[in-house]
Amino acid sequence: MTALRAINDFVVKFANVNGSGSASANGMFAKAVIRLGVPVAARNIFPSNIQGLPTWYEVRICEAGWLGRRGGVDLMVAMNPQTWDADVASIEPGGYLFYDNTKPLPPEKFRKDINILGVPLTAICNAAYRDPRQRQLFKNIIYIGALSYLLGMEVEVFETLIREQFAAKERLIPPNLEALHMGREEAAKILAPIGLQMRRSDKVGDRIFVEGNNAAALGAVYGGATVCAWYPITPSTSLAEAFTDYCEKFRVDPVSGDHKYAIVQAEDEIASIGIVVGAGWNGARSFTCTSGPGISLMQEFVGLSYFAEIPAVIFDVQRGGPSTGMPTRTQQSDILSAAYASHGDTKHPLLLPEDPAECFEFGALAFDLSDRLQTTVFVMLDLDIGMNEWLCRPFQWDDSRRLDRGKVMTYEELAAGKEFGRYLDVDGDGIPYRTLPGTHPDRGGYFTRGTSRDPYARYSEEGAVYVANMERLLTKFETAKGLIPAPVQHKAKRRTPYGAIYFGSTSPAMYESLETLEAGGIHLDALRLRGFPFADEVFDFIAAHETIFVIEQNRDAQMRTLIMNEGGVDPGKLVSVLNYDGSPITARFITDEISRRARDSAMRPVPQVAE
């Protein structure tokens, strides 16, 4: 029976029980790969539950640097009896099964075409520890130790990681080091290094390994957000929690201990967005973070923000919908309910980060845009970007950059008698000036409402007044096109009539797929959307190609709808590639889907022409 052989290019999957403390040990393994200079893509698959149900941690080690899910498993670390059968079945032929052989298992529990690596983890733990909780926790470190031996990974890397991780709780360092070595030695006693091996490399560079929610929270700090109102919901909770941590780190006055921020855990999502709108109205940069169900509940307030023109930022960390759906799975299925949120005629800007680095950048940018445009700006993350650590370029900030507060009329301007009409389009860009409460004793005060009113904010039921205002809001949306990050184009090596449009967490899989397709003779120009409303480039790109594949992680091709509708694009040109089973899209899937259609439509590489 053949055994898979690979260096710095294979997939290890850990199958654990939720709440068994395996997460930090598995995380250490991924980090060790990075320390060895090899790019890694790691993803948690966890249940909507606190303890006892199955969870998986999938680590793709890839010298070539592909960070999407590859699919398939080369080495399965099977620590969960509940899912044993499915886990064993998922291993690639010639792959490896690592398990705890303390209790012998009947032969039919195994496969002939895979390599079995048994280590008596329980026995080792029981011999070494008395306290059951210890036995459980150290068991995780022990199998990490064993793996480090089997995969030929430098032990020093793990030692350093342990020292760093427990820097705060010094006393925990020795026992963990002990457990690590115990695992290595016990494995060495009974097994030899396997066909999957790791070698030190230099492909990571200065990249960092961080969750999108964490990065977006840091972006909010840099973007000057001072008010955060939120309500817990997976997978957005860790964004608010990270914002709290960063504020404690960067926004507390060292002397007085005063907080230059206010974070309120509201009673629900309606109150969260209400607080955000109230703070935005009063000139503080504020945001909330939520997921699908929260987006549904916030619709009315988003409509108010649109019509009364109040800045607000919503981070939507998308999960599997509709309804409660799959709370711990990923999707891009809130596109329409965000872009067209609320009853009546409305449109809202969206930002579409592709990785944590952009979560940071767009997380900051969103506040400038919402102040500039005086409306709600959505930053559309998803569970895959938000809750998994991704390898991405480091955080950067240009210290010359200033926060753009948009059009706020000052005391001086008012005192100087500058004309103020809250909804008056003085600059022709559809964006009026606003004043903040308390600015001037007798100028600039106005009454804000979600009902129709004239350019001077006076109540009006006049049809013409209403229409003029709604038209101005369209002008403002036109202005927004110039402010939203432009799409990024990736040209095929050859001229081609085929294009692909994608966005968000699909990026890494897309990059890999493009290369594979190219190798197979299928050339595609690719355009990555970074926001809505769409810049003209998007429609130019579509016009310049015969067929455009639109890759999305939802059922109803929501982004395609948005493109057709906003650009008057012929749907016939837009071919959907949809993955929505809740697990992140893979390069294999995209490649297969496009190749299949390529075959069907006899899609041929176009002979190179001099350009």
Partner: protein, 351 residues
Amino acid sequence: MTYITKPRLHHPLLKPNGLGFTRRDYEGKVSTLCAGCGHDSISAAIIQACFEIDLPPHRLAKLSGIGCSSKTPDYFLGNSHGFNSVHGRMPSVLTGANLANRELIYLGVSGDGDSASIGLGQFAHSVRRGVNMTYIVENNGVYGLTKGQFSATSDKGSKSKKGVTNHDQPIDLVGLALQLGASFVGRSFSGDKAQLVPLIKAAIRHKGAAFIDVISPCVQFNNHAGSTKSFDYVREHNAAVNRLDVILDRDEITVDYAPGSVELVTQHDGSVLRLRKLASHYDPTDRISAITNLQEHQAKGEIVTGLLYVDPEAQDLHDYLDTVDRPLNQLVDGDLTPGSGVLGALNASLR
């Protein structure tokens, strides 16, 4: 249509207050409410109260939900910023506004439908958070703007204009506010300006969540026999526990009072609440007995009014959050953006 600005409504219009503002400076647009609507009297009381405590009009922000009552902020303090938000959500919008700038005064105006029906949750949570605000419910026991349906404060057994009887238990916002930890709780009647104006003054000067339930008859839909929110009914069943005067600073107090008859409560900002007891032994600083007293009178069908509870030591949400004194909406780049300097270490910790 009633004109709050009708000169004869308040004289002398031109006598300025401590800041040199006349009462006119505290007025707003012409009311579009029905002639005789209780809400207009409350607007007049707010104007009076703000004038008397020398409030710089633009330092107060008016927030409301949706309803006839929620329209009224357009009819007073015309130079102040106002926000007529969405139905039942004023408390969250006010909370956000308050977080953005702790220096302004926040006046929330709502209706019984707005606060007790759709808005009950937000009412309760804004109160328990100790948001520094004056929260006034203009309570007429009906949905005025949608033409007279029962609201959640309609009493069980009370009859609608069409003669339908209400079966649901009423929600008494005063009782809830007391339970939820409001640090200032009062009730009054739109027809009793002498009682209402000082209550509003005290509430505005109070630090913490101040709630005032003002029974405000809807002459259009709920002022008939069988209603428990009609002018007649309220007059007949009004049980005031005390009479309040607000003295802006301690020194003004010269005379001493016969022990027991009068209680003086000094608020956080130095303003003194002088309470003449009407119900003997009523102690407005005892929350539990306030609750009991309320329940007992309610059982007798009486409407307890006056300053029902005050905690002069109360803290507010900003105290709990340790926010800086400088309003958050005035912090500048330097305060907010850590800059590139710290990113090196941060990035390193993520490798």
